[in-house]
């Protein structure tokens, strides 16, 4: 028991160590800075953050649950095509989506230019800005997470329950609210929590769109008000909110267990005009989430001259880092998921496993900086005085730890849900046949886990390809990735030059997303 607990604790170290650093920032308080922040900055920032969180929750729910229901519960021509098309926007990082949309609304953007030069019409689309813009962009970027989780949940709904409800006299709406909805609720809460954490941690898109979210204020406190300590204090408060959010989700989940995997319900066939409507809705969504931004990026990329040679190295760096991080996440994530699934009675294990997943919501920069400081301390403690410096704090190892801290949760989610689907009866049968915990893991759980393991690999791979802030801080010299190349250009306003690495990054992400989508 103790060994397992300790093991989980060690695996949570990449997250815990930076968090401890955050907490240590509370040793002293800059009162005048805090009073300035709480008077002039935080009230508005808290409001804007809450508005974006609620708005994105609603937006992704509308888009993600709507598409999840259409694909998971309905049958129509082309459903299998849409099933994976809808996932593709997963390859677009929010910061790329944000700058593509600002470009679309700009004087030199595609619509403005075409209208002006071909039709002599002076009209520009409204530029996304502030909380409303943030809600729009983040909803478009994040809905695939909700879609992915809810599609599964809707598709797997047991027919027997819904049929019983109908037989007992409930109408279609009542049976939706009283049976289907409660069944989908755990997946839904998990999805909303995931999306909220992404929103809390997002810096790039929020700052480009002029949203004063808490993470943006945190950066401002460090970069502009020159107080890293107060920024760390803000970050630890943010972390507290996330822990609370995680706790709420965990609490809402505890009563649920899959005793059996019943026969799923048949999909509902849509009538011809319903099919046309479904196609129109899905196509509109894809237009805004993928096609329009891609067109703008293509338009930019075609006008600039690109240093193509640099990109070959950047692609290799991105692929190598993403590959290593994905493997590491799987190797470390499997034992966590197995232990958590097999030892449900130990009430310390679940919270310990959850602890390792806190990092998902910590802004990448904060996490990376914490790691950098902790690793520096570690090196000065471990390294003999006469040895050459290891530079642990800015090494590939540091990067991999940061990715592990940020994305362990993503690898865990598919593994845990696949394990949850292993029926107790199977485990009991194995136990009856004399298989111990280790043999059960090896012969029962692992084979059943293969698709989920693959999904975990791909999810982490895509996220690492898109990751910017931690990569920017911790990469050793010579490890410029596509994401850091994009940053170099967008921060100078050179969007036409940023467009090609952005397209390459999307391409590198699209492939695994497409595989992921087809495999399910």
């Amino acid at each position: 028991m103790l060994g397992r607990r300790l093991g989980l604790l060690v695996l949570a170290l990449p997250v815990l160590a930076p968090c401890l650093w955050l907490l240590s920032a509370w040793q002293s308080l800059d009162v005048s800075l805090w009073s300035h922040l709480s008077q002039h900055v935080l009230p508005n920032s808290v409001l804007e953050t809450l508005a974006v969180l609620l708005g994105v929750a609603a937006g992704t729910l509308l888009l993600g649950a709507g598409t999840g229901w259409l694909i998971g519960r309905c049958e129509f021509v082309g459903r299998r095509l849409w099933e994976w098309l809808l996932l593709l926007p997963l390859a677009l990082p929010p910061y790329v989506l944000a700058f593509a949309y600002l470009g679309l609304a700009d004087y030199f953007g595609l619509p403005g230019r075409v209208l002006r030069e071909s039709f002599a019409i002076d009209w520009l689309p409204p530029a996304p800005h502030g909380p409303l813009g943030g809600i729009l962009i983040m909803s478009l970027a994040l809905y695939p997470y909700v879609y992915l989780l809810l599609r599964e949940s809707f598709a797997r709904q047991p027919a027997s329950l819904v049929e019983s409800a109908r037989l007992l006299g409930l109408g279609p709406w009542a049976s939706f609210w009283r049976v289907q909805w409660p069944l989908a609720r755990p997946a839904l809460l998990a999805a909303i929590a995931l999306v909220s954490m992404e929103c809390l941690a997002e810096f790039g898109a929020m700052s480009v769109l002029g949203v004063d979210s808490l993470t943006v204020v945190l950066y401002r406190t460090w970069f502009s008000l020159q107080s890293l300590q107060t920024a760390a204090q803000l970050a630890s408060l943010l972390l507290g909110c996330v822990a609370l959010l995680g706790l709420l989700v965990a609490l809402s989940r505890t009563r649920l267990s899959y005793a059996s995997l019943p026969r799923p319900r048949a999909r509902r066939r849509l009538s011809r005009w319903q099919q046309a409507l479904a196609w129109a809705l899905l196509a509109t969504l894809l237009l805004f989430a993928l096609i329009l931004p891609l067109l703008q990026l293509l338009a930019w990329a075609s006008t600039a001259e690109h240093p193509v040679q640099q990109y070959r190295e950047a692609i290799m760096a991105s692929l190598k880092l993403a590959g290593m991080a994905a493997l590491l996440a799987l190797v470390l994530g499997l034992p966590v998921a197995l232990i958590a699934a097999q030892q449900r009675r130990d009430r310390w294990l679940m919270p310990l496993a959850q602890l390792g997943h806190l990092g998902y919501a910590v802004p990448g920069t904060v996490l990376a900086l914490g790691l950098m400081i902790v690793l520096t301390a570690l090196e000065s403690w471990l390294r003999p005085a006469d040895a050459a410096p290891w530079l642990l704090s800015t090494s590939v190892l540091a990067l991999l730890l940061a990715y592990q801290a940020r994305f362990a949760r993503l690898a865990h989610a598919p593994l845990a849900s696949a394990l949850a689907a292993v029926r107790p009866s199977m485990r009991e049968a194995a136990q009856t046949l004399g298989a111990g915990a280790l043999e059960r893991s090896w012969r029962l759980h692992l084979p059943l886990l293969r698709p989920a393991a693959f999904a975990a690999l791909l999810m982490v791979f895509v996220e690492v390809i898109k990751e910017l802030p931690a990569t920017l801080i911790l990469r050793p010299i010579g490890w410029d990735t596509l994401a850091t190349r994009i940053y170099a250009y967008t921060s100078e306003g050179q969007w036409d030059l940023a467009a090609l690495p952005a397209l390459l990054l999307i391409l590198a992400g699209l492939l695994p997303v497409a595989i992921l989508a087809r495999q399910r």
Binding site: G210, S224, L228, L391, L397, I473, A488, E492
Partner: protein
């Protein structure tokens, strides 16, 4: 076991390429595309290789502090005087006593203790829609706070350090009350919420959303280079008074530089007459050495009188400036 060899591999990968001879490593906030051509020229002349790692200045400064004496960086280059001042205060730069640097760079554009030196000038001034605004209507930055510009002004976000340094210099010169009333006037005159970057603000002027904007001149240079018919012109502000607000892109040698001599050579080379002309020209900026004429690309905009106040004030007053902007509601 597997994790062990894996970690060893990662370490090896991270450290590879660390022990090459006479390669200068520059931690740079100035983006690679705006500095690599100059470094390539230096390599051609001297055979000394230069490699860069790009990030934002506050991050690079923390990185230097964390890496300590192990740092691979020999030089820190930033695009703002405030950041250089920060780096000096944080103790990550070394003092340099170089006659040629003192000779080439005016005292107002370098650190008193020789820890950092400005290498190019970036002027932040007014651009206007030439279809509706006449240059006679324009005079100073402070005048843009007058009610006649209500609903006609575009600004970039106050999160950008260029605006923070501008307000910091105003604070140092005019004091808090006067600066705050000007900043409040600007905010009251905004035609649109502050933009994420200067190019968007110029685009808004071109699109007729606002009539005047406050930007770094090189952004307009780049945009005019691509779109010569852009209906936007530049106006040098404050020419009757203190001179137009300027900031610097500059550099210093790190405290724990391994190649300190080579790095000093690079820094002195960057301040030399030939490099000065090129350094600024790459990005439509102006040489820090006032004796070097501006590049032909920006000569058409005429000469301007720059503000002569010590640029280090941008760093000293930065935190106060940010608080003032917060109070005035400049987002």
């Amino acid at each position: 076991m597997r994790t062990h060899s894996f970690m060893a591999l990662c370490l090896a990968l991270g450290l590879s390429g660390w022990a090459q001879a006479t390669t200068i490593t520059v931690y740079s906030e100035r983006k690679a595309q705006l500095i690599d051509p100059i470094f390539a020229e230096f390599t051609r002349e001297t055979g000394i290789e230069v490699r860069t790692l790009v990030d934002q200045a506050p991050v690079l400064i923390e990185r230097l502090a964390a890496e300590g004496e192990g740092t691979p960086a020999d030089m820190l280059m930033t695009v703002d005087a405030g950041s250089l001042w920060q780096a000096g205060e944080r103790g990550v730069l070394r003092e340099l006593d170089s006659a040629s640097l003192k000779e080439a760079i005016p005292a107002s554009l370098r650190d008193e203790q020789g820890r950092w030196f400005g290498l190019s000038l970036r002027a932040r001034t007014i651009v206007y829609d030439k279809r509706v605004v006449k240059p006679e209507q324009l005079s100073t930055l402070a005048a843009l706070a007058d009610p006649e510009w209500k609903g006609k002004l575009c600004l970039r976000s106050s999160k950008k350090i260029y605006n923070q340094s501008l307000v910091a210099m105003m604070l140092a010169r005019d004091g808090e009350a006067s600066t705050e009333s000007v900043v409040r006037g600007w905010v009251a005159n905004l035609a649109a919420p502050p933009f994420a970057d200067d190019m968007l603000a110029i685009g808004a002027v071109a699109a007729g959303r606002c009539e005047v904007a406050l930007v770094n001149s090189y952004y307009l240079g780049r945009m005019l280079d691509e779109n010569p018919e852009l209906p936007v012109s530049i106006f040098w502000a404050d020419q009757q008074g203190t001179g137009v607000h300027v900031n610097i892109s500059g550099a210093g040698i790190t405290r724990h530089a391994k190649q300190a001599e080579a790095a000093q050579r690079l820094l002195e080379w960057l301040a030399s007459d030939k490099a000065q002309a090129k350094f600024a020209e790459v990005n439509f900026e102006y040489p820090a050495n006032p004796r070097i004429p501006a590049s032909s690309k920006v000569a058409g905009w005429g000469n301007f009188k720059p503000d002569q106040a010590p640029i280090a004030q941008a760093g000293q007053w930065q935190a106060e400036a940010v608080k003032l902007m917060d109070r005035a509601g400049w987002k």
